[in-house]
Symmetry: C2
Subunit: 141 residues, 2 copies
DNA sequence: TCCTTATTGAGATTGAGTCTCAAAGAAGTT
DNA sequence: AACTTCTTTGAGACTCAATCTCAATAAGGA
């Protein structure tokens, strides 16, 4: 059993939640890819492997993973949300091609610092942020 | 008739679209406030004034205004989208209180520049961006 | 005024996501 | 292992924002 899975199991236990085969399957599916996938793709991939799970359970499990920072939700403003795991990955934001849907990740420390500065200026205690650049990638221009 | 309304009328004409009382009403309602409002609030406000309009027409008119940059859409990832007019307003991004829903506007030229740099680095031709800071405002901390 | 064609409105539809509730099953206890 | 408690699951109903349908209406050019 992987280190991450152990951690998930411990967290579930601490919160009085149960470690089920469905939750394990969703976990396994999500960490198996670095892509940004929608809930339904994850659901289908699990079914494809012959594991029985419902859409509702996939959504519910993703919620648990979200709350515990195992997963990050990407809302692109059109179509269903996408999800990416956060195992061994540092913070980053996204640059998205509006033509082909390609998603790249970027991180600029200077921008992060400036965000903190803005929050401070407005008296906000920052919790999270969304920073998405939309445009045409090289191939689509 | 305001300068903006004249411009709208001209654009409609150029695109073979018609200047209707409903479109005028939606326009008037949207420019009458600097708030960030959802489509249904705009719809209700127009009805309140005794002007007959349907939800579908409000959405459709907002689409026309969006395409012509009279209006900007704010997708906060939860609940319906919000809209703000762009008359006499320069570009800005938003800092949002996750408790009370307060929305402030900010602009940091340096961040804008860094975004352009990121796009260039990834070979993207930038079209638009979303930059939203979520946190707790002074009152809600 | 007439004519062509875009627009409107009421209500149906879509689609992502959530909820319901009876049945199943996890995990602690004896 | 059997029992008990309480969470989880799944199928499908439901929600809600937003879009679509299509017959009736109206804009605006001729």
């Amino acid at each position: 059993m992987s280190k991450g899975l152990k951690r998930l199991k411990k967290i579930l236990h601490n919160e009085g939640l149960r470690f089920t085969s469905q939750r394990e399957a969703v976990w396994n599916e999500i960490i198996s890819s670095d892509d940004h996938r929608e809930a339904d793709e994850i659901y289908m991939a699990i079914r494809q492997k012959g594991i029985s799970v419902s859409r509702a359970t996939v959504y519910r499990t993703i919620d648990v993973l979200l709350k515990n920072n195992f997963v990050r939700k990407l809302d692109l403003g059109v179509g269903p949300s996408k999800f990416e795991h956060r195992i061994d990955s540092h913070h980053h934001d996204h640059i998205i091609c509006i033509q082909c849907g390609r998603i790249d990740e970027f991180l600029v420390d200077q921008i992060e610092d400036l965000q903190d500065k803005v929050a401070k200026e407005y008296g906000f205690k920052l919790v999270r942020h969304i920073h998405q650049l939309f445009g045409l990638c090289e191939n689509c221009q």
